[in-house]
């Protein structure tokens, strides 16, 4: 069982970090909904507060790692330009998608949208985490702030979801592969 370095990085970016990010954002949304229906006063213990703060630090951190890894590690492999004469476009996912009318839309719409919209997620959830961590009392006082925070959290989930969906579809049609091979399990007879 083996995997190429590029495929592993791509999976880490999308399935692992991106996937965990989406789950964490969903948790934030649940927490925001829940806080609307909690009887006051409802206070967490000191340990509960620190766990909550940790969760609200990790969530945007996952988002930032996912977009930075995507843009600066995986995306350059995706948009690599092949030499003038090349036998196969398998190592050049963007060119491979554009070479066929049936798949060019995955780049022209999918990747073009994903590469930009995905960045809304960490920006929006950073703001959400800041308000939930540092400005909790203000959020309690102004219900409109809770609404705004909830809308931004939903946008983070949707934009991250769009990026994740197109990432998976693009990887299905033209996977990023190449580089050194990592042997995960040695095959027996």
């Amino acid at each position: 069982m083996e995997i190429s370095v590029r495929a592993l990085a791509s999976e880490l970016h999308g399935m692992f970090i991106g996937g965990f990010f989406l789950m964490a954002v969903f948790g934030v949304i649940v927490e925001l909904f829940k806080s609307k229906y909690v009887k006051q006063p409802s206070e967490l213990t000191a340990r509960g507060q620190s766990l909550r703060s940790f969760y609200l630090f990790v969530t945007p951190a996952l988002g930032w790692i996912a977009v930075l890894m995507g843009a600066y590690i995986v995306y350059p492999w995706y948009r690599a330009i092949p030499p003038a004469i090349v036998g196969s476009l398998a190592g050049y996912p963007q060119r491979l998608l554009l070479s066929r009318p049936g798949t060019s839309g995955w780049h022209r719409v999918g990747m073009e949208w994903k590469e930009h919209v995905g960045w809304f997620a960490p920006m929006a959830i950073t703001m959400v985490a800041y308000v939930m961590t540092k400005q909790r009392l203000v959020m309690k006082k102004y219900p409109q702030i809770r609404t705004a925070v909830l809308v931004f959290a939903l946008v983070a989930l949707v934009s991250g979801g769009i990026a994740g969906f197109f990432g998976a579809m693009i990887d299905n049609h033209a996977p990023v592969k190449g580089g050194a091979t990592i042997h995960l399990v040695s095959e027996g007879k």
């Binding site: 006063p41 977009v67 843009a71 600066y72 995306y75 350059p76 948009r79 022209r108 719409v109 073009e112 949208w113 590469e115 930009h116 919209v117 960045w119 809304f120 920006m123 929006a124 950073t126 703001m127 800041y130 308000v131 540092k134 400005q135 009392l137 203000v138 959020m139 309690k140 006082k141 102004y142 409109q144 702030i145 609404t147 705004a148 925070v149 809308v151 931004f152 946008v155 934009s159």
Partner: protein
Amino acid sequence: MNAISSREAERDNSSAVDQLPNGPVAAAILSAGIGCCALGILAVIGDGSAAAARLLTFYLPTGPLSGVTTTAILVWLLSWLILARRWRSKTVAIAKVNTVAFALLGLSLLLTFPPFADLLLGK
């Protein structure tokens, strides 16, 4: 005795909450909308002009996306810093701030959607 002091503490706490300004939160909400909108506008500019795309290429392997996102993040953080300083101890009209932030967010989602951007650029 304990019940009385606990009620007093609750009252003190609630009056402290009443005096909290919403400016810092409004600054965070509005700047998030500004940052997203900046990203949408820069994405369209980078897509529509070869000169702008070259200018926005901060890191060659990533292409214009590097400049689009880095600039948008700087716009976001800078606007957050400026607004947070201006509204540090103020209470602003949060409904208006929300409306503007949602409008910017909606516009930014539209601008990054390739068919809409192509329509704008006449492609």
